[in-house]
Assembly symmetry: C2
Homo-oligomer: 439 residues x 2
């Protein structure tokens, strides 16, 4: 057995991920030492309640409620408590006491990332967060390092397992959202309070992290446009299927040009999370259940896709341990941490300036001239029609349903046009407006 | 404009990849400086013939035939000449003069990797080679770093674009291999001498690199079992389709247990390249054309898949430039390079000890008792039958064709059993024996 240098590792949090991280650190201690070139000594696990029930049996003497003391003298601090405080304070304490940080805390990084990365830069520490987006799927290093010499044009991510599970079951079983959500809660795929997932907050945090890496720009969470899935119903799912699409909650990070009013180069970015239509032939359409995938389009590399489990304690623990080994290797190698690359500093455009195509479903009176009137409103609004299908509205013979696929249009134009359609005498009801991604 | 430290970058080779690397380094100089935190100054491009035709227009004054002088004083040396010599000598020279290395040279790393990595370790240099396997697809960092805390169980890779293109067209068009190969050569998807691709040498080199990273073991190229695709014909393709499979040239890297005769832990690995059947429902079955994909199964992370372009000058240049930026960041951060992790040192088992399932196609006399005789030979050989289909042999009413799907069996048992079948009176001909992967 090689006599390795010993590194003191402090773990904050012993929930679903933390308890697996502790168990794997202990079980694979020798193997991890061989890989890291250093022995990773788990000095302790800081928790709120030492006697709480854990997912995994762990030696009781490792637990402490005193995170502050545990951090002192640690080489690597793994923060898996989640939430903003006390996680933020503990991470800053750890950085200032000379530790490298491993965290899966997307909420914290998306809101206080700049503060934390700046603090790390000051002392030459490194912050690792492979587990903060898409769990076990390696996406942080590919964006941060492998694609560092390329220009990412677009990322389309399915980065929230709960909502993908819900939408997938609605699609395959024709179920209603409320029923699937209730079952997901029973199965443990959704939280008792599902707001963070179904309202898109979790996906928006991950989108902010991915966009920051891809575009070398600190993207604040407030700049991410966010819509959840609660408005999606079975009829919209059926209509999507009928048109060759599936509805997915997508995190879209996009490089845009022609924005010379906000940047000298005319370049800007858009970061948005919303349910959108995606063609069934697109690789992202086949991401099923609680899985995640990230589709990346880069100028030189072309299309790339990363696929895997987007949640789960042991899966996320894999990403955390990869970071721990990386941190240990860096400790042995010496040198200061490599800071985040944010110097491109591209402006983030509001949703109104995004260009996508749309599918608009209208209920209209089944009378001559209605189609011409609708087409006229679209044309005036600079929204060009690509496809049009007219069917009878369900349950009412006097009304027709128009499903209009548009060419690419400016969101602001589209939005104003939809308002005008809604006010028009010939339109009974705007049934739905869905963006189409992935063409 | 920030006044960055300047790093001297030497480029060896200006072929399809090298010329794109040079063009991108020049075109994106400011942007790359912002990302790397250092200005990447292309000091020169060493080539054999300064006046040769290039894919991209580059300033003539950059070219030199004197690689040795160009390397002197360089911080980063990008080796894209390919082949063993003079690439090996130049890389060793560069390492010993204090440079970090970026290379896409899989042939060199698979044969002289240990020598090069050891030389880098001696002086604290780092060798980057994201482009050496699967071109633009980030797979080296995910295996090396993101999964460094996990235990990889199996990798199934489609890592050669040329053979995937050939097999894909045979599958979708019912074409014969020789015709598709000829067309691939006309289209530039296959070399004039296609040996490295169609005989599996290129895939075997990549398999050695992936297995080395995944299993923390220096895997010599000679330990990789290799079979090419030249034996695949239309009839085998048709039979595969009929059974719900597709034939792909797969690089399989697998952790095996129960090998206590060769290792104290009983753990060993197998690294092999061969055409195999894979179920059409498997994500790898849908990797089309010249694309590549790597499917990774890890103990904690579960199933992961990485997908993208597996070849192409500009695509590969993306991976090279990511490495150049990483090398620059490391130069700025200081510290020594992180060596390869090879301390697990697992033995590589010969092909005879691999366990997979098989599809055996036999031509037999259509007589009573033949099936019993065949089943007897399989049973004696410890090969258990999972499925069996009997059809008439094409063109001969007196013969039947037996397609036997086996349960998992030891390759050595299978191989001996097939020999016995071939010698048996009741078997006219062993039409084909294909391994089945990905169950």
């Amino acid at each position: 057995m090689t006599d390795y240098r010993r590194l003191r590792v402090a773990l904050l949090g012993a929930g679903a991920v933390g308890s697996q991280v502790a168990a794997l650190l202990l079980r694979h201690e020798d193997e991890l030492a061989d890989r890291a070139g250093a022995r990773l000594e788990l000095a302790g696990i800081a928790v709120r309640d030492v006697d709480a029930q854990r997912d995994v049996d762990l030696p009781r003497e490792l637990f402490t409620t005193d995170a502050e003391s545990l951090i002192v003298g640690s080489d690597i601090v793994i923060e898996l408590q989640g939430g903003i405080e006390p996680a933020r304070t503990r991470i800053l304490q750890a950085i200032n006491s000379g530790a490298d940080i491993v965290t899966a805390n997307k909420a914290l990084l998306a809101t206080h990332g700049t503060e934390i990365f700046d603090a790390a830069d000051q002392v030459g520490a490194q912050v690792y967060y492979e587990a903060a987006a898409a769990a076990a799927i390696p996406i942080i290093r590919p964006l941060r390092d492998s694609l560092a010499g390329d220009r990412v044009q677009r990322i389309i991510g399915i980065v929230n397992g709960t909502t993908n599970y819900i939408l997938d079951r609605m699609d395959t079983e024709g179920a209603e959202l409320a029923d699937v959500l209730a079952e997901a809660q029973r199965l443990g795929y959704a939280e008792a309070d599902p707001t963070a997932d179904v309202e898109g907050y979790d996906a928006a945090q991950k989108a902010a992290l991915l966009a920051s890496l891809a575009f070398h720009t600190a993207v604040p969470l407030e700049a991410v446009h966010r819509e959840g899935i609660l408005g999606i119903d079975r009829a919209m799912m059926d209509a999507a299927r009928h048109a060759g699409y599936v509805i997915k909650l997508l995190a879209v990070c996009e490089r845009l040009s022609g924005a010379s009013d906000v940047s000298a180069s005319g370049e800007a970015i858009s970061v948005r999370v919303y349910p959108a239509l995606i063609a069934r032939t697109h690789p992202m359409a086949n991401v099923r259940g609680v899985n995640n995938a990230v589709f990346v389009q880069a100028e030189a590399a072309g299309d790339l896709m990363f696929y895997g489990a987007g949640a789960g304690g042991v899966q996320t623990a894999s990403a955390v341990l990869g970071d721990v080994v990386s941190a240990a290797r860096r400790h042995i190698a010496g040198g200061v941490g490599v800071g985040e690359s944010t110097r491109a500093n591209l402006p983030v455009l509001p949703i109104g300036r995004v260009v996508t195509s749309y599918q608009i479903t209208l209920e209209v009176d089944d009378l001559p001239g209605v189609l011409a009137a609708v087409a006229g409103i679209l044309s005036e609004g600079r929204v060009s029609i690509a496809t049009l299908e007219q069917t009878l509205a369900p349950g009412d013979g006097a009304r027709a349903r128009l499903v209009i696929g548009t060419h690419k249009a400016l969101e602001q134009d589209l939005s104003e046009t939809v308002d005008r359609l809604a006010e028009s005498d010939v339109v009974e009801r705007v049934v739905s407006v869905m963006r189409v991604e992935g063409d």
